[in-house]
């Protein structure tokens, strides 16, 4: 589904990714682990089109993504849950979720200028809202509150829910567990399996390597911008080198 070949990316004048090659197959959960600053987030931003690529190739469902803007990759079905959640704090939870469905309405001026309630009542949007509320019931309770008033964990749920609202086929998840209590982080990571069962393919970036590899089929280890190890999740979890470096 996603193939990356020899990808190099510069960020802020620094070579953040060097010759990265990886692939994610349809229906997989793939974890990309590595220390802070290894280039994990850079990779996700480059796939989503938010960072320019120096060299290499990103292909998604047979289509080259090089040079594509984030709004176009979003329309192709790539969803991103950014690091730090980045929810729209002064908009309500429901508005945040409805904005997730914006990809379906971009360019449809009648819908864009019509009452937003009509969009909330569209069958396909209602169905997706139901899925999101099923995964995260607390969001339904808080739907009319401002996103900024949610707790960190709830904001993370909202960020995932917002990404799911665009019915992505490929979901890029950046540092899901960051800043969350370990229990809650594990619970959210556990939900990724349920999302995959809904037909999603997931590329997960995590500092917490053990937790990330436990929910994944395969994994890659990134060190200072290079892939240094790859394999099935259990291979990586059991390898001495990985255990020493990342799993303590």
């Amino acid at each position: 589904m996603l193939t990356i070949e020899g990808l190099s990316v510069k960020r802020g004048g620094v070579q953040a990714l060097r010759e990265v090659t990886l692939h994610v197959d349809e229906g997989e959960i793939v974890s990309l682990v590595g220390a802070n600053g290894a280039g994990k987030s850079t990779l996700l931003y480059a796939i989503a089109g938010s960072l320019p690529i120096s060299s290499g190739r990103i292909e998604y469902q047979g289509q080259a993504l090089n040079g594509m803007s984030p709004e176009r990759t979003a329309r192709l079905g790539i969803g991103l849950t950014p690091e730090g959640r980045q929810i729209f704090g002064t908009l309500s939870v429901l508005d945040n979720l409805l904005l997730g469905a914006y990809v379906d309405y971009a360019g449809h001026w009648r819908d864009l200028l019509g009452n937003i309630k009509r969009i909330a009542n569209d069958d396909s949007v209602r169905e997706r809202l139901a899925t999101v509320y099923d995964l995260f019931p607390i969001l339904e309770e808080r739907q009319s509150q401002d996103g900024g008033n949610l707790s960190g964990g709830e904001q993370q749920m909202l960020a995932i829910g917002r990404a799911l609202m665009s019915s992505p086929r490929l979901l890029l998840v950046d540092e899901l567990s960051m800043g969350l209590a370990p229990n809650l982080a594990r619970q959210l990571l556990g939900l990724l399996g349920r999302m995959r069962d809904l037909g999603l393919t997931i590329l997960l970036v995590e500092q917490d390597a053990r937790a990330a590899l436990k929910v994944a089929e395969r994994g890659y280890v990134l060190e200072t911008g290079r892939i240094v190890a790859e394999g099935t999740a259990s291979e990586l979890l059991n390898s001495d080198r990985i255990q020493k470096a990342y799993l303590g």
């Binding site: 950014p82 980045q86 904005l99 914006y102």
Partner: protein
């Protein structure tokens, strides 16, 4: 000080509110562009001049006043969008200070072109519904001032609907909150920037047209209105639409009261004095915003 009665004070307040409506519309335009693009558009006042000038021109060509009004707003929207494409889009990643200076350049160019097209002689536009002024509890109010307040109220209602009740408005606000996150939702920041310029141009044009019958329309009328709008926007905190409206109305009333009670020659001085007071008083809110603007500037340079 002359001996004023209730009717006189009411009159100061009402005429202040109508002038303040104009400031509010200009301030809203500044706030919308600033929120979405981070640019303080110092050319905002020129949209009022263009609105008034095109309305006068179309009216002179024989178009009925309502049609001249609508046609002028459309033309100014197109000009606003053209300005965005020509002066903002090509330099999107430039520093905020560069962008502000570009808007100063744009306003000088617009004023220059307007002088070439329409000359220096002021024009006038008839009142929308000519007739004797209305009296309300001893206050005398011209019909046009009612038009100003009515049209402003209508525009505010439409803007409220757009920003609070439509997905497009939410996307615009999302873009103002976090452009990167919005782009991951499929919202195009470029399109939202264009939309913000279109909206601001429309607001400015409407303000210029409704005030035109009360003032003379000339190529340099936008300068002062733009500055007053900027003062109003800062009073309102620079990023808040309701704040901009309150700031505009407040500024209008302060000016009108100071013109009536002190001296009409003092009203501009008092408006800018209000800006200083607000900048000092709201330093905690406004200064960090200006600081982050400067920080972004140094990041761009560094």
């Amino acid at each position: 000080m002359p001996d004023y009665g209730f009717g006189d004070y009411l009159q100061f307040v009402l005429s202040g509110l109508s002038t303040g409506s104009i400031y509010a519309l200009v301030a809203l335009g500044i706030v919308i562009i600033y929120s979405v693009t981070g640019i303080i558009n110092l050319a905002q006042g020129e949209y009022t001049m263009l609105g008034a000038m095109f309305a006068v021109t179309f009216y002179k060509w024989g178009l009925p006043l309502p049609l001249a009004f609508a046609a002028s707003v459309i033309v100014v929207i197109l000009i606003g969008m053209l300005i965005e494409r020509l002066t903002v889009k090509p330099v999107r990643s430039a520093s905020p200070v560069t962008l502000i200076i570009i808007t100063v350049g744009v306003s000088i160019i617009i004023r220059g072109v307007a002088l070439l097209i329409w000359g220096a002689t002021p024009y006038s536009l008839p009142e929308f519904t000519p007739g004797a002024p209305l009296t309300l509890f001893g206050a005398i109010l011209s019909r046009q001032r009612l038009w100003i307040m009515g049209v402003t109220a209508l525009v505010l209602a439409l803007l409220y609907y757009l920003l609070e009740r439509t997905l497009l408005g939410k996307a615009l606000r999302a873009c103002a909150i976090n452009q990167t996150a919005a782009s991951f939702m499929g919202v195009s920041p470029g399109q939202m920037s264009l939309l913000s310029f279109a909206l601001s141009a429309a607001l400015g044009a409407v303000a210029g047209i409704v005030i035109a019958p009360l003032t003379l329309v000339s190529y340099n009328m936008g300068l002062m209105l733009g500055l007053k709008g900027f003062v109003a926007a800062v009073i309102g905190g620079l990023v808040s639409a309701p704040g901009a409206v309150i700031g505009g109305l407040l500024l209008g009333v302060i000016e009108s009261l100071s013109a009536g009670l002190i001296s009409s020659g003092m009203k501009d001085a008092i408006a800018f004095l209000a800006l200083f007071v607000v900048l000092l008083w709201r330093a905690e809110e406004v200064t960090p915003r200006l600081r982050s603007l400067l920080r972004r500037q140094s990041e761009v340079e560094g």
